[in-house]
């Protein structure tokens, strides 16, 4: 069995895993598929138009085209997707996760808010890498926050 330690909500886990991979592929933009034409017209950009500012200067570029989302959003999706796929491997640390995941998620969100505000006020200049990493931390801690619902029994049968 591929994921022997996944105890609950397996169907939901599978659905979310599929959607996450799909989301990540779409978020990577038209460059991933070597699409031609101006990037603003790519369907990937249209898909995320309402969800991200899509500033090309704040996005990674693949094959001469910016991704369909900014680096922070991409970090969130990538962090969430990667840790989600590795979720069954976390079962050994479930006690730690159960105790600290909430605090870690709040901490990750706080760090991102501070990063955005301090950058806007001009005290700190964030970069593509720093935005990706801070975004990825949100995505990963969100998975940790949900982990115990998949790895341990929380409901009476």
């Amino acid at each position: 069995m591929m994921y022997p330690r996944l105890a609950h909500n397996r169907k939901l886990y599978g659905i979310v895993a599929g959607l996450c991979v799909l989301l990540l592929i779409v978020a990577s933009g038209g460059g991933l598929f070597h699409q031609t034409g101006f990037w603003m017209g790519d369907w990937q950009h249209q898909a995320f138009r309402m969800l991200c500012h899509q500033d090309p200067a704040r996005s990674f570029w693949i094959n001469g085209k910016p991704m369909a989302v900014c680096t922070r959003c991409y970090g969130i999706y990538a962090g969430f997707s990667l840790l989600w796929l590795g979720l069954p491997m976390l079962s050994s640390g479930i006690r730690f996760i159960k105790r600290h995941a909430g605090r870690l998620l709040v901490g990750a969100i706080t760090v991102n808010i501070i990063d955005v505000v301090v950058n806007m006020l001009g005290f700190w200049q964030n970069t593509l890498a720093s935005r990706t990493v801070t975004g990825a931390v949100i995505g990963m801690t969100a998975v940790l926050y949900l982990a115990d619902k998949f790895l341990t029994s929380t409901q009476k049968t």
């Binding site: 603003m40 017209g41 500033d55 090309p56 922070r72 926050y145 619902k149 009476k156």
Partner: protein
């Protein structure tokens, strides 16, 4: 009044569970309006800003702040459902509430966009003019500029149709709100142990 476990709304998530549609509707309307306001504000700031020759316009500042705001409808819907009925919410149910809320947000924002088109029918053309002026101010080869302008004009026009807006709005808002709906279910839904 005494209630049995069977009568307690939502216990066991069986047939007695209260409907989540009111929570879905409330969150959909709320976040649909927020998504619409963000979109319309960005459009008007773009229309009224001077051509800078940069891809990043002042309107996108709102986008930076409002990034992913539309994804939190699922969380709010599960919060409303949990606080209204004081029931446990399984993760799958939270995901479903989030998914439907995402669909609702997309529908409401598209509907409001269409209605706004009746109030200000020139908005799209003004937006196109503003973007074209911005591209023309860019320091790029003429051929490349023309390609960008053609693509953007075509893109902006096609985005005005209800079908095009729903084609991307429904799945994207649906997926992201599904995820936040799950988080909301964990955050706000009481464990069944607490109610037992």
């Amino acid at each position: 009044m005494e209630t049995t476990d069977q009568q307690k709304p939502g216990v066991g998530n069986g047939n007695g569970a209260p409907s989540y549609w009111s929570s879905v509707a409330i969150a959909s309307v709320l976040f649909g309006i927020i998504a619409f306001i963000i979109s319309i504000t960005m459009i008007y700031i773009t229309i009224n800003s001077e051509a800078t020759g940069s891809f990043f316009s002042p309107s996108q500042l709102i986008g930076v702040l409002g990034c992913l705001v539309g994804a939190f409808g699922g969380m709010v819907a599960t919060w409303h459902y949990a606080s209204e009925f004081d029931v446990p919410i399984k993760l799958g149910k939270g995901a479903l509430i989030g998914l439907f809320t995402g669909f609702g947000i997309s529908l409401i924002s598209v509907l409001l966009n269409q209605l706004w088109g009746l109030i200000d029918p020139d908005m799209t053309q003004q937006m196109i003019d503003s973007m074209v002026a911005n591209f023309e101010a860019m320091d790029l080869p003429e051929e490349q500029k023309q390609q960008m302008i053609d693509s953007t004009v075509q893109n902006m026009r096609s985005q005005q149709s209800i079908g095009s807006q729903l084609l991307w709005g429904l799945p994207m808002y649906g997926i992201l709100n599904l995820l936040t709906g799950m988080i909301g279910a964990k955050l706000f839904g009481k464990d069944e142990d607490e109610l037992a």
